[in-house]
Assembly symmetry: C2
């Protein structure tokens, strides 16, 4: 897979294509054109073709894209065709919600450990997992080959947790805490802060 230099904008659109293509799969639709995709996703067809063409020639001129094939290709590109273990740090309401949410949607991206320091939470089960104390973070990351940390602790703790995740060897962080994390360049961070989203939305009201 030759990746000349793909912009984040392109990468962010791939999961959106994938999601819709999977809907088409369920409807047993075999083929789709960039025009149809563009109509449904409210995007420019040229952009869709260009995005996909960064990674290879997946379509057929005069025909369009074969849905099943494109689904597999996008999964490969995103590297979600293989297992990827995540650790969840912070077993509050949001953490529990995510660990459930996760279970029945993407079995390839799975939560392999949950941590919290509250004494009344440690030892409690969440699905098939048991909440562990934060002390055990580093050990578990290594033992269970965890590559992604999902941070759902309070803002004041988030940087400390991020530092420990980085130190333990995690490659990516999904951060739900409302702070800008500082991490080395070899670690990717994505922010999923609800407050920020709501505030952005407020701007567009009226």
């Amino acid at each position: 897979m030759k990746t000349p230099k793909i912009s984040e904008a392109v990468v962010r659109r791939l999961p959106v294509y994938l999601r819709y293509l999977q809907e088409l799969q369920e409807l047993h639709i075999r083929t789709v054109s960039s025009y149809e995709l563009g109509q449904k996703l409210d995007m420019n067809p040229a952009q869709i073709r260009k995005d996909l063409a960064y990674f290879g020639e997946f379509g057929r001129k005069g025909i369009g894209y074969e849905v099943n094939y494109l689904v597999e290709k996008i999964k490969q590109i995103l590297k979600i065709d293989r297992h990827l273990n995540c650790a969840l740090i912070g077993a509050g309401h949001l953490g529990i919600a995510l660990s459930n949410y996760n279970r029945f949607t993407q079995e390839k991206l799975s939560i392999a450990a949950i941590f919290d320091n509250a004494p009344d939470k440690v030892g409690t089960s969440v699905g098939t997992l048991t909440i562990q104390p934060l002390d055990e973070l580093e050990q578990m990351v290594r033992e269970r080959d965890i590559l992604i940390g999902i941070i759902t602790v309070p803002a004041t703790e988030a940087q400390k947790v991020a530092d420990r995740l980085v130190e333990a060897g995690v490659k990516g962080i999904l951060n739900f805490a409302p702070v800008s994390l500082r991490v080395p360049t070899h670690v990717s961070v994505r922010n999923a802060d609800l407050t920020t989203e709501l505030q952005t939305l407020a701007y567009y009201i009226d």
Copy 2:
């Protein structure tokens, strides 16, 4: 407030500035330069100055920006200086998590009603609210002046809920369901789909 044509990229950065400025407020720091902000947020200082300058002249040459003043200004720009009522549709784990999360962070952006159709949930309390059946959505949106809908129902239900929210007069939707919603242009949608975020993150692993 003259707003020539502000790009979404600019609007998305304002809450990030705000968040850090509020941290500075707590530390009783009175003044900050675009250079310092840039250092901390890992952004170009010229960009920060330009972003802010779209909305007015908030700084002082040779000095920088007065923290308290800038916080107030950004709140005004984002329109979070006034109350804004949201409705939450879907009282699953994620919905409950959000309604709690929300309570103690942003009192100006508050959840004013929670809906779910599951018979075992209707009538149950969540904080000070009682879960209501979806039938009552339109009525509540009107009665309680709800301008934003937060969708945390399953993907299959999300478009139906969005249609009803739009019909009831909501101006913005924060969508947690993994589907691309279709709404009229006068309604803003922001997507906060965890799966999409995780998949994007996976691309950057290794």
